[in-house]
Subunit: 478 residues, 2 copies
């Protein structure tokens, strides 16, 4: 981590974290602002990261029997109104179509902010018997939620995501699937993105519009701020009843199914940037890096160098995502460029290396240089990429632990909120008035979640002093 | 092809082709109508076909250096107005957002009907030097075009597609890429979908709004009707000029790049249904079939049958997309079900087969039954799937040839248009007035394209009798 800063036009994260983020997004060519207010263009390098995340998640979904579908982009107002909590939650932040084909529409169409009602309408048509259950559908699409401020990948009017919507025979099965989806998300974070999120249940106040229970993954960014980075919801049978979805049960009685939904979005790219990045730019987890190994020939005009580099490229591309940069740019320029783009491993090969039957491997995450024999190179790189993943995870875990503080009472809570960026663990009485008060007093610290394994910190709420019901993670968020 | 009809609730294609199509879409669970006027839900089986098509196309794009991006869904009116022909062509069929975040918008936002202007706006920001060229971007998304009638996969208010947009240093290179994209599409048709399309250039009248030249692929459906099934466009520098896109050339002069765009959509699924399907349902090309081999155990209660079926499943799933149906439904029911769903190969395995160390393979495309030894089964299936692909292609080619007619003059043209469903090859003077007249007289026969290899049919236009400039394919379309 203690590398000297080579790319001078990235603001240091310690000087201005927000500007550091914007610089990386722009310089690494991940995304670009567009003239459409609140919308960004996801550029090839950023989109390639998303494709790798998608592929990984999609495989995990399919392994548990989830099937992909596509629902319409537009929701008629009458359909959105079928579930009251839902429209109250979403209608104010929707984009609304009032004209089509040159004419004013008789009924307004809302661009989907999420698709619960569309899935329910469809399920109403196709679910008749317990034999039709469970239905485990997912779609990859974009959604629109009106936002005035835009930060690429973090907050914007439109974002890409997946939304899973499932229907189950019993409440138990639906609850179980809500947690199964949460576990898949957690695995994606840990195994694919090398990020250890705090995982738990949202409070009543923070849960999803229309849900009975919302679970969440809350990774901590390098600066101690949380990102709500994925949620799964148990809906009970509220939507199903509102949409008249019924099935003939095993006992021949007419029953109502139980529902879940769950989503993760391009925000994950924001999390990757802010958890792993450093002052030289992006640091990408090997599993999602568009280029895992970049080959930089040294003294490439010397005989044999480009040939050997080309050979290695052909060999390595069978197992890794590899790029060979044989452009005229200087090695120094290339080093800085691929560091900025977060390529996990740089492979340097020059005349001396070739003579010695070896090459130099340089890790992006910690700058370590390793001499590697050209024999067994594939295995060495494979091992190194795994080590890089593990080390990145351990560093993120360490950062989270170092920036998580315990508040035993109100005074400590306010002191930490004021002076120590990070998460706060503190007891809570269960009253949303205390959440409001703490948010107000601290200028934005909110309950993140009630973790599955609560610690006992004190007997009383860190806000009102009444008997505590839960330990809660608190923190500021993006 | 001459199988007896087992699924009684599919209308025969000879009785009512449109109803046959609708029945297949519904019974094979490809898509379902939604309450959103003009929009359908793509169900898991239909979406799985699309995913296979996507994967195949995406690989081909990436092989020629195309990179995926994501552009905003919404286009401000002022941006859409920058290229006049374009807005004239598209504005009347757009869905328009006039409210957002609970307020009336100062500027209308159009849901993208296609994204030329968004790509141009972005290219204006990122193209500065000839070193930045070519830019070969593509996006997978949905677009909205206001349509009153809906036919799943063929015509609807919203459809899924890919749109490629490229910028090049010279007109020659851009023209070349327009044809390269066309060739990729043609390969997808022939190699992946087993469909032989007619390929050529659109007339002035039929070309894309704002394009200098439009090329097209026109597969013929089983009933002789054409489907405009993919287009590529050469734009010259018209859009680039309108958007002020300039770059410093190799000679240091300021130049304007040249542009292409190209798109194919979920219509391809419609083409697959209507080119290959029969009265028993879908017939899927092996390359895109969600299930390539379905294993149906015979007398599955007998000892050893389910075990052997399970063994075969584990073996075959390494190389193919396989499904084992060990449900309680009767073999007859299963046969009809998977025929209707167009699964290319059925594998039957019963007690006698096991005794003899063999199984029975049944081809969906022609009903042929083959006894296959369990030894070398993987190779046998691999070979059979290739043969099925080739035979499906040959049948589609034969159908196209049998339903393509030559009109030497006006009288013949009208007679064929009236009496023989299919394509008409006829000469044309180059005047769009003749296209209008023929369309009017025939109630809908339009020029499909000027093929790359024109035949000489006559010296004069089949409409006005003036000297002919081109041979044109004509036909009705979906």
């Amino acid at each position: 981590m203690a590398q000297k800063k080579m790319v001078n036009d990235i603001t240091s994260m310690d000087v201005d974290f927000a500007q550091w983020y914007t610089d990386i997004v722009k310089k690494a060519q991940l995304a670009e602002y567009s003239s459409v207010k609140g919308c960004t263009v996801i550029e090839p390098y950023g989109y390639a990261i998303w494709e790798n995340i998608q592929k990984d998640m999609d495989r995990r979904f399919k392994e548990v029997g989830v099937e992909n579908v596509y629902m319409p982009l537009l929701i008629p107002e009458s359909l959105l109104q079928k579930e009251k909590d839902h429209i109250d939650g979403f209608a104010p932040e929707c984009a609304v179509v009032t004209q089509g084909g040159g004419e004013k529409l008789a009924e307004k169409l809302y661009i989907r902010p999420t698709s619960e009602v569309l899935f329910c309408e469809h399920y109403q048509k196709v679910i008749h018997s317990y034999r039709d259950l469970p239905k485990l559908y997912n779609q990859w699409c974009s959604v629109v939620r009106w936002e005035k401020t835009t930060r690429p990948f973090l907050r914007g009017m439109e974002f890409l995501w997946q939304e899973g919507h499932t229907m189950h025979e019993t409440a138990e099965e639906a609850k179980e699937f809500t947690l199964k989806a949460l576990k898949i998300y957690e695995d994606v974070y840990r195994e694919t993105l090398a990020i250890p999120p705090v995982v738990g249940q949202k409070t009543e106040k923070e849960k999803f519009a229309g849900a009975e229970a919302t679970y969440t993954l809350e990774p901590m960014m390098h600066n101690g701020v949380a990102l709500q980075g994925g949620t799964t919801h148990y809906f009970g049978d509220g939507f199903a009843k509102a949409f008249g979805i019924q099935f003939t049960g095993r006992d021949n009685s007419l029953q109502t199914p139980h529902q879940t939904s769950w989503g993760m979005s391009t925000r994950l790219i924001g999390a990757v940037i802010m958890v792993h990045g450093d002052d030289n730019g992006l640091v990408l987890p090997p599993k999602v890096a568009p280029v895992q190994v970049v080959i930089v020939p040294i003294a490439q005009h010397k005989p044999g160098v480009l040939e050997k580099a080309g050979e290695l490229y052909e060999q390595l591309k069978k197992d890794f995502r590899v790029k060979l940069d044989d452009s005229d740019n200087s090695p120094g320029w290339k080093f800085a460029q691929y560091e900025m783009q977060g390529v996990p491993l740089r492979l340097e090969i020059g005349p001396k290396d070739i003579e010695n039957g070896q090459c130099v491997l340089v890790r992006r995450d910690n700058g370590e240089k390793i001499s590697a024999s050209l024999e067994g190179l594939t295995e060495a790189i494979d091992g190194l990429l795994k080590t890089i993943h593990d080390d990145m995870y351990a560093r993120a875990q360490k950062n989270r632990e170092e920036k998580t503080f315990v508040a035993h009472n109100h005074e400590e809570f306010l002191d930490i909120a004021q002076n120590k960026p990070g998460f706060i663990k503190a007891m809570w009485c269960g009253d949303s008035a205390c959440e409001d008060k703490l948010k107000e007093e601290t200028g934005g610290v909110k309950s993140r979640c009630i973790p599955f394994e609560e610690e006992h910190i004190s007997d009383v709420c860190a806000c009102c002093g009444k008997p505590a019901k839960h330990m809660v993670y608190w923190g500021r968020q993006y």
